[in-house]
Assembly symmetry: C2
């Protein structure tokens, strides 16, 4: 299926969540073939209009009045839209603690991601990962990316060499970068970058948590007077 035009980032971000819920719902209620957008909306605590608009972007069949969407069809449509049935190949650079874990993480498979190889400059880690993936040098990595026409690169090196690794990947022909390091990358306009910035997430979480605990503490104080 071709991706329809003008599907927003907000919609795309919600699709994997819908999919996880629909799969689970399908398993649990093994008699129900249909699901309404209202049930989905209720689960995610959003308005049914948002769900309806999102599903209109991806579903090949319209929902039936009073019945809703045919569940197996809807699941397949979302999977198709997300490309889960069309596995994407990727390479991962930086097979340290985090990189090694991502390289061997089976969960990516279910999102349609196949990490073909790990790449590292450290001779000591080259070979086969505990999960059975090969880990190759920068030179061999470049050869693999070009030969297999891989478009997606995952960066999991520590901060300082991130830009260097990014330039290397673009040089090899990579068009999309999933960046797990906290470094800001400079890339040409035609390169897609998605930052998985755990340092930022943790910073936001910590400060909000601090405020919550402070607020509860103050409230406790007030009540005890």
């Amino acid at each position: 299926m071709e991706t329809k035009q003008a599907i927003s980032i907000e919609t795309i971000s919600r699709l994997p969540k819908y999919l996880a819920f629909l799969r689970e719902y399908h398993k649990k209620s093994n008699n129900s073939l249909y699901i309404s957008s209202a049930i989905i909306a209720e689960h995610f605590e959003i308005t049914p209009i948002v769900v309806k608009k999102d599903l209109a972007k991806v579903s090949t069949k319209e929902g039936r009045p009073r019945m809703g969407f045919l569940l197996p069809q809807l699941i397949e449509d979302i999977e198709d839209c997300l490309g889960y049935n069309n596995v994407k190949d990727a390479v991962l650079v930086g097979v340290g603690r985090l990189g090694g874990a991502l390289l061997d993480y089976d969960g990516f498979r279910q999102y349609g991601l196949n990490i073909v190889a790990g790449i590292d400059r450290d001779q000591a880690v080259l070979g086969i990962s505990p999960g059975g993936r090969r880990i190759v040098s920068l030179d061999n990595g470049a050869e693999i990316i070009k030969r297999l026409k891989i478009h997606l690169g995952i960066i999991a090196v520590p901060g300082k060499s991130t830009q260097e690794v990014c330039d290397y990947l673009i040089e090899c022909g990579i068009k999309g970068i999933w960046n797990f390091s906290p470094t800001h990358l400079k890339t040409p306009d035609n390169i897609v970058v998605k930052n998985e910035d755990m340092a930022s997430s943790l910073a936001v979480l910590s400060i909000q948590l601090k405020e919550t605990i402070h607020r509860e503490y103050m409230n406790l104080g007030e009540h005890s007077i």
Copy 2:
């Protein structure tokens, strides 16, 4: 240092990036004691006003005209604001492939996070992780959270039992949740949740990548006419 009021999520999200850059800059240019907001802004390709406003929220000393901020002081101020000098304890539930990697990931330390223990319901994984962290049962985990007054819980279980684990953590007294599973969590208002939704990130990246490649392909076609 107390966190100043009204620091926005946008500002907080940028702070770890500034910090990484400032540390690197400090190391590289070992003679320069000062840095201007213009240099920071240029590196991140944002306007100097944004940088100035961000730094005004966290710096204890104002920048000096024509000189900028005293680098070591600024680094320390950001670290203080982010709580990196005041280590936060956390527990992690779900010591599978990804959870195990996060449990042993040393990188969190530098962001002021200390994972005290892993928690899992699977008897087979209990004991000590390869990185030397203890992995305990749900019952023992509850006891540790209460005794050490831990406020932060990391969820790394596969989709279906996520809500159950979330309820368990809140029951134990956890106030903040860092969720690595793609499941939408239902929590009371006083609980802070941060979703690290890799499935959504990957979905956005994949679709943008598809569009980029498609566009380049079309452009190539045009040029060759």
